[in-house]
Subunit: 562 residues, 2 copies
């Protein structure tokens, strides 16, 4: 199959109706993107324009290469908090801006490399509970990171030791906290109620949804007006301040030493950004019966991050709420993102004075309200109820991220989820089977009313036979012989076994001999094709001696029963 | 079930015949143990008597607590080379003897802790290929470590950079190399031929086996006599030298800082020592239809190592060749080890002058011939042929141990074997099933001649449904719908599925809805009891809607076929 640029798939059939939807969606998204971009840059401890720059070239690159039609790629809160934590741990004297560019550049290189190696499957490293635990903890960290801006304190490190200092300004100048509180209340109410109010006022659902999403813009405009009025002495309410106009400069990343130092953080940022983006893209594609190609997404997100690193931006990914707005506003193709990126570019080039009066506390309020939805307590409870090891993976990840930092917490969560997988396979369920009366179907004697035959025992091991469980299975089989003195034939029902590794092969060979000494013959039944090929290559049928390999359990019982 | 000391199990039924076998075996084992102990201590870079001390108290402790009747616990070559490597990496100025005691003490604590936590299953961390790769590489390292002794060079670090210095003495004084070469040739021939010669001379097999194992003693006596004659100037052939007589002193381990530093090495030593010991003990127990209790072995080996650490010894484990000799010489109970430990104690206390004349080169020859059998090239080839990922685990471990050191190599091997396990589960085999004519048995349509029904597709996923493969399985299921336009019913045959985790549950819920939109109903068949309990707790039967859960695939086909 020939490779085709994703752009080529929609460009040829592009219609006027598509254009109408895309242009409106692009304008709406840009209105959301500008304050978000500035807020995420400030959260990471960077000048506000970095967030704008990350919404230009990277967005265009994704529009050309991405396999999702409506995913909105740009600065996102989770990547921003990860950048903030990374910058915080760098040795003193490191240029934070150069480090951010390095992170974006490295993330791009990592994703591109994974894409060319077709490692899209690696996204599965992050199980659902790990991802939920991660975003929940990251959302809490983000909220904490906004406390200084909400109280009017200087933007400080995310640290409990400076917590009192955030609140001292509140006593002398409570205006900031008051404005922030009002903004949060307004945004929460707008999110929950405005849609319903507008709908009951007779507006179409989609128009109501788009209008609801302009609430942040209203908050910004109102906030800027209030701040201008209050800021008689120009310090009462901190604003974004002067933003240099013009386009971002292009530059190569800093030295190799810094890049090496940033690699673990870049790995975490790219993995999380990729998995989040693909989940959002796939959930949209499912609704539209389209297809997101995981490997193409690696290439597209990699190129977008590379572009961010080379054009004075910060790491980018697909943003959940922005993508929803884009979709709700009528986006049909990536052209909507091209429109949005163009609008951002025009604003950043010519109209930055418009942005300088925006109070930082309003941006903080927008962030806080935006990330509250990432806190997934219900998901945690559901995972815990469904399966203890899934619940543990959630808790380990969340606690790890909060206590030990984002990368360590994420790594711990991945290890915990794989440990759960391995632990489950280490002590497999082994069922003794009997025949369901009147059928050729065999089930667990403990759960079903079934028929058994004297001297013939049917054991079904519910797991692949591997080094992780070989010793345990061996001890169970030998125990059977000890506890069943009349046993003549032991049939291993292999319906659940899809692999037998070298260690387990050795175990089977030992068990066959050891059962033979106790005058018990081992047989196999329902061995799957690929497993049979493997066992045959190791001459296990010969080792079985008098033991046979039956196609079905039914045949085994017919043949062996007295 | 009440806990009983293993000693209590054999002591009450002890007979005169048992005593006869045990005493002879104890004497023979002691003859082997004394040169081995000294050689392993020298290999680790320690005074020779440390190896003797490690053969006293630890051996007695294991005799009382061990669940194996004939395992001979004491100094072993693999533990010795691990100690040597650890001592080599310690900062200058560290007392090597204190560090060795610390290693033994820590190994003891680790094993005891694992025993009290009943973590015997953790032995499964080491798959057969990883263990084989490890011992093969360790054997090569041991042989290299003996080159200085074999060439008469000063015992140096195991390093290629000093390799010329090992051979300089050969040019000036070739006697050492000559004596070593003759000893190796004699030991190899004795091992291969002597047994057969003695048997054909009419001796019983067992007596011949025991006599064959005394070849090292013959080499030592002859070597000592030759060295005494040649050593006119007392430097031509290096001997063991003066060994202080008396019993080992008891002492507590060194400071906490050193212990913390030694922990990774102690973890590796205890894990390897434990797994090796249990494999030897189990292979013997299988022959005798006895039982080795993995958790009791943790306690026994832990206590033995603790004893070694407190009584001036070095880390101990079950030795393969020594255990075989013990068994072949007639050992029936751990009393044989009590005899052997007593003999070693008497020699070390009163007769050390007898040992001082033993040439180091003879001990080196004994070690080299002993470890050659650990090099398992055949096992590597068999593993590689059987399954590529098993072969890779062997190679990664062996190369890691040789290039990066014992602990790192072992850790890499463990990671590689688990990665293989996870990789195998990430892209599971998915078979389309049909009915074997005339039966109620369903098999892969690609491998068997089977009957299918139009509009009903049966898919069997040959792996547990987990986060590691959920995305992949989802894409396969959706692909089915796209490629089979006439499909009405998709039956997921769950006979190979023993677990469905939270991530996969979410996948199933999504797939049910997405298939329903394409007018395809998802059904389940042969869901195992524990899996059904889980799915029911998450109300999946409700989510299935019109889809049903069938006891057997046969029932599903009968019900759904037109």
């Amino acid at each position: 199959r020939q490779y085709r640029l994703p752009l080529a798939r929609w460009w040829k059939q592009y219609t006027g109706a598509d254009a109408q939807g895309d242009v409106i969606a692009g304008l709406v998204t840009a209105v959301m993107l500008i304050p978000q971009g500035m807020a995420f840059a400030l959260m990471a401890g960077l000048p506000a324009q970095v967030g704008l720059y990350a919404s230009m070239l990277p967005m265009l690159v994704y529009a050309v290469l991405g396999s999702s039609r409506t995913l909105s790629v740009g600065p996102v809160s989770v990547a921003a908090i990860m950048v903030a934590q990374t910058l915080h741990t760098l040795p003193a004297g490191t240029d934070p801006f150069a480090a951010t560019l390095g992170l974006a550049f490295l993330s791009g290189v990592i994703l591109l490399a994974m894409g060319f190696l077709r490692l899209g499957l690696l996204a599965n490293l992050l199980s659902h509970p790990v991802l939920a635990g991660f975003t929940t903890a990251a959302a809490l960290l983000i909220i904490v990171s906004q406390l200084p801006a909400l109280t009017g304190a200087a933007a400080g490190a995310i640290s409990l030791s400076t917590i009192e200092s955030w609140f001292t300004p509140v006593l002398s100048r409570p205006q900031t906290l008051l404005l922030g509180g009002v903004a949060i209340a307004f945004l929460l109410i707008a999110g929950k109620l405005l849609q319903r109010v507008l709908e009951s006022a007779g507006l179409p659902v989609r128009v109501a949804a788009v209008l609801t999403r302009t609430a942040p813009l209203a908050a910004i405009v109102a906030g800027a007006l209030i701040a201008t009025r209050l800021n008689a002495d120009a310090t009462t309410i901190a604003t974004v301040g002067v933003i240099p106009g013009g386009l971002p400069t292009l530059s190569l990343p800093a030295g190799l030493e810094l890049l090496l130092q940033l690699t673990p953080a870049a790995l975490a940022i790219s993995l999380v950004g990729y998995v989040e983006s693909v989940s959002i893209a796939q959930s949209l594609a499912h609704r539209e019966r389209e297809r997101v190609d995981p490997n193409q997404e690696l290439i597209a997100l990699g190129a977008a991050n590379l572009a961010a690193g080379l054009s004075s931006g910060m790491p980018v990914a697909g943003g959940f709420s922005r993508t929803m707005v884009n979709k709700a506003a009528g986006a049909r193709t990536p052209f909507a993102s091209i429109v949005a990126a163009t609008v951002v570019t025009i604003i950043a080039a010519k109209f930055t004075p418009l942005l300088s009066g925006i109070p930082k506390v309003i941006l903080a309020a927008i962030i806080v309200v935006g990330v509250v939805q990432l806190i997934d307590v219900r998901g945690a409870v559901a995972a815990w109820r469904y399966d203890r090891s899934d619940g543990i993976a959630f808790l380990v990840t969340a606690a790890g991220v909060l206590i030990l930092g984002i990368e360590t917490g994420l790594a711990l969560g991945i290890v915990a989820s794989f440990a759960g997988l391995i632990w489950r396979g280490a002590r497999p369920h082994i069922a003794e089977l009997g025949r369901v009366p009147g059928t050729e179907h065999f089930r667990n004697i403990k759960r079903h009313r079934v028929e058994t035959r004297r001297g013939v025992e049917l054991l079904r091991v519910d797991e692949n036979l591997t080094f992780a469980n070989a010793a345990w299975i061996e001890s169970v089989l030998e125990e059977q012989v000890r506890t069943h003195p009349n046993l003549r034939h032991l049939v291993l029902v292999m319906s659940s076994v899809s692999a037998v590794d070298f260690t387990a092969l050795g175990m089977l060979q030992r068990v066959i001999l050891s059962l033979a000494e106790a005058d018990v013959t081992l047989h196999l039944a329902e061995v799957k094709g690929p497993v049979m090929d493997h066992l045959a290559s190791a001459r296990l049928p010969v080792t079985l001696g008098r033991g046979k390999i039956y196609l079905s359990t039914h045949q085994a019982v017919v043949d062996l029963g007295e």
